[in-house]
């Protein structure tokens, strides 16, 4: 990795032609656009991996003229150190000297949970097969457990960041992606809004909404709970309207959506609640005790079912009591049953299921 080293031997002043590194790919087109740049689909030309699809994420140069984008650097530095089948694989990094942009080449995953959920909701009009849900959830937890045990918090888990491999060797394998906001625990974790970063609030943990300054791995587990519910119902669980202001606006509507389903948190159940900055803000709404709809009726689960038990442990208010990825993998929610299905789908690996057939007609 690292084309810069190849500069030792030859003049790399390539202003007028397609950069050398890009010549190893056939560029097929733009497939996505994010805050930090564009994503292209490409195919490898070389004989060893001919035809293999690659997603190339192009990072813009940081706006303030301060060199390479810190987001790109964070993503590179973390992904270079980790390797797990449920985490997206960074295959190469390229620098285009002409415009100082960075290119990250990933193994291409054809699907993501956002698209799979939307497909089932809008096109086929039926829930995702429960075994598929189990497999997605297990793989997501498996990848997250790896990250957390390597002291990495993702901080921006949402359906569009959970990729699913399409046709090929790894069909149906879940890959956690987009590490631009991920952090190593030991580094001081400034809150995202302090950094001027905007992420969708629907998957944001209540402690963050209430102004907690420090992130823990529990914020990722809250997001997993929200994603789990969304896989079951095909609708975002807590769809709050976002207050757009800087810095760090108080997201009352998002909290309200959570309270309506889970009830209000109480100091008995969550003792450190009183230390959170926003707890004392808008006391009427925050500290109220109105009736809630009940999580079980929203997700249509029997209150005694293992699925409900697992979901409610992921959506535990107190981050210290919230279930961890490692504990969730051991939960009685019978993850093993999804394996027997995947075996019957002809894939030899136990966690592979056919996402292809379930998401693309």
């Amino acid at each position: 990795m690292g084309d810069t080293n190849s500069n030792n031997g030859n003049n790399t002043n390539t202003n007028n032609k397609k950069p050398e590194w890009l010549q190893q790919y056939d560029l097929l087109g733009k497939i996505g656009e994010g805050t930090y740049g564009l994503v292209f689909l490409a195919r490898i030309k070389s004989s060893t991996n001919r035809g293999k699809s690659i997603a190339i994420k192009k990072f813009k140069q940081s706006k303030d003229g301060d060199g390479v984008s810190p987001t790109a650097i964070r993503e590179i530095m973390l992904l270079r150190e980790i390797s797990h089948e449920n985490v997206v694989k960074l295959v190469n990094v390229h620098i285009n000297h002409v415009d100082m942009s960075l290119y990250l080449a990933f193994d291409y995953a054809e699907h993501d949970l956002y698209e799979i959920i939307r497909h089932h909701r809008d096109k086929v009009n039926q829930p995702i097969n429960q075994y598929t849900v189990k497999s997605f959830l297990w793989q997501l937890l498996n990848g997250l457990n790896y990250l957390h045990s390597n002291w990495i918090i993702h901080r921006d888990l949402k359906p569009s960041n959970i990729l699913v491999m399409g046709e090929g060797d790894e069909q149906g394998v879940v890959k956690i992606a987009d590490f631009g906001l991920a952090r190593i625990y030991q580094a001081p974790l400034k809150s995202l809004s302090d950094n001027g970063v905007v992420v969708t609030i629907w998957y944001r943990a209540p402690e963050l909404l209430l102004g907690a300054k420090h992130y823990t791995s529990a914020v990722d587990m809250w997001a997993v709970g929200c994603i789990f519910a969304e896989l079951l119902t095909l609708k975002p669980l807590f769809q709050g309207a976002e207050v757009k202001a800087t810095p760090n606006p108080f997201q009352l509507d998002q909290l309200d959506k959570i309270f309506k389903v889970l009830g209000h948190p109480t100091l008995e159940k969550w003792p450190t609640l009183a230390n959170l900055p926003h707890w004392h803000q808008d006391v009427q709404h925050i500290q109220g005790h109105n009736d809630n709809t009940g999580l079980n009726s929203v997700v249509h689960l029997n209150i005694k079912s293992p699925a409900y038990d697992l979901l409610s442990k992921m959506l535990e208010y107190d981050p210290r009591k919230r279930i961890t990825a490692a504990q969730a993998l051991e939960h009685e929610y019978d993850f093993l049953s999804s394996f027997s299905l995947s075996l019957s789908l002809s894939s030899p690996m136990n966690q592979r299921i056919s996402a292809h057939t379930s998401s693309k007609a």
């Binding site: 690292g2 303030d64 390479v68």
Partner: protein
């Protein structure tokens, strides 16, 4: 990251002495080849980070004559240059009150860079500043290039131009400082001390951190994992404070980790780290003057050219930074003006 065992640091950046020598020799040979071909060695780094070889010298016919061609630096002279600028790097970091972790990361980036390139090809002053800049970014202590450049009266465009070439993609670096913290905590349990003796452990901790500062200036960080560097520093520190039976402590660590290493292997590594510290040499003023003269002719620069260039580069506009607090230290970062006081005096000029 918690796991050094699976890190790029361990996989790609810990070498044997032989491998290290080979790399330094190869980098020097590449610089010499450039010198023979172009009559100068300094790589041009453009605004966009592109690299190009020096313009062939006009009197290239003369260059064919071996005697008039600039003489390349020796391996030892290259080492002296790196040593000089690594010290500068520590100074700059101290001056900005950066945490030790940033200093260590920047030092390691600097060392890694000069495994690929010779100081004859890239000016160590620029690379040093770029390494500090990159380390700040990685360690979440963002300082703008402009602020950094301003604080030390250097053109920040140089820092940005170099970021692309010095930016290796193995960015996470394990420094020994955290290992020391961990071992000291562990020692508390290993040899329980009474509350009134806690200052003893504090003392061993402090001395060990200073020992690590010294180790970080040698090649040892490219040869040994950070845990061993930390243990070497703690052993030296323990020789001063005499807190515990160190060999017994090493045995206890190994037995608890069911390590594949024997205690004698570990001690051999620690001895070797110690000898790197003992063998550390800072160049004399005379050495520096001599090396600098050679280096300048390798770079194909006369002092006149250099100043003209700087004038040109600093023309591009820069906004006024509101942060004036860090700009009080203008020091001469090059050793070009070393005909003035001793190196020590220059080091002290910071304070």
């Amino acid at each position: 990251m918690a796991d050094f065992q699976t890190s790029t640091h361990r996989a790609n950046w810990i070498f044997t002495t032989q491998e290290l020598d080979d790399k330094y020799n190869a980098a020097r040979q590449r610089a010499i080849q450039t010198l023979e071909k172009y009559g100068a060695t300094l790589m041009e780094v453009d605004v966009d980070g592109t690299l190009s070889y020096p313009e062939p010298q006009i009197n290239s016919k003369d260059n064919a004559d071996k005697h008039s061609r600039p003489k390349p630096l020796t391996i030892e002279e290259e080492r002296y240059m790196r040593v000089f600028y690594e010290n500068k790097l520590q100074e700059v970091c101290n001056n900005f009150h950066f945490p030790h972790k940033i200093q260590a990361t920047a030092l390691i980036y600097f060392k890694r860079f000069y495994l690929q390139w010779s100081v004859m090809q890239h000016h160590p002053k620029n690379i040093m500043l770029t390494c500090i800049y990159a380390a700040c970014k990685i360690e979440e202590n963002h300082v703008s290039a402009e602020e950094l450049g301003k604080g030390i009266s250097q053109d920040h465009q140089l820092i940005l131009n170099n970021e692309m070439i010095s930016l290796e993609f193995d960015l996470i670096v394990y420094a020994p400082y955290r290992s020391i913290d961990g071992f000291v905590n562990d020692m508390e349990e290993f040899c329980p001390v009474k509350d009134d003796q806690l200052h003893v452990l504090k003392a061993i901790h402090e001395t060990a951190r200073m020992e690590v500062d010294k180790i970080m200036l040698t090649d040892a960080p490219l040869l040994f994992p950070p845990g061993q560097l930390a243990l070497a520093a703690l052993r030296s520190s323990n020789e001063v404070h005499k807190v515990l039976d160190f060999e017994r402590y090493l045995r206890s660590i190994l037995s608890r980790q069911s390590s594949a290493h024997t205690v004698s292997e570990l001690i051999e590594s620690l001895n070797s780290i110690d000898s790197w510290v003992r063998g550390y040499k800072f160049p004399s003023e005379k050495d520096l003057k001599h090396i600098n003269r050679k280096l300048k002719s390798c770079w194909g620069l006369s002092s006149h050219d250099e100043s003209k260039k700087r004038e040109k580069k600093s023309k591009h506009k820069s906004k006024k930074s509101s942060n004036e607090t860090q700009s009080n230290a203008s020091l001469n970062l090059t050793c070009e003006s070393l005909h003035s006081p001793s190196p020590q005096a220059i080091l002290n000029a910071f304070y």
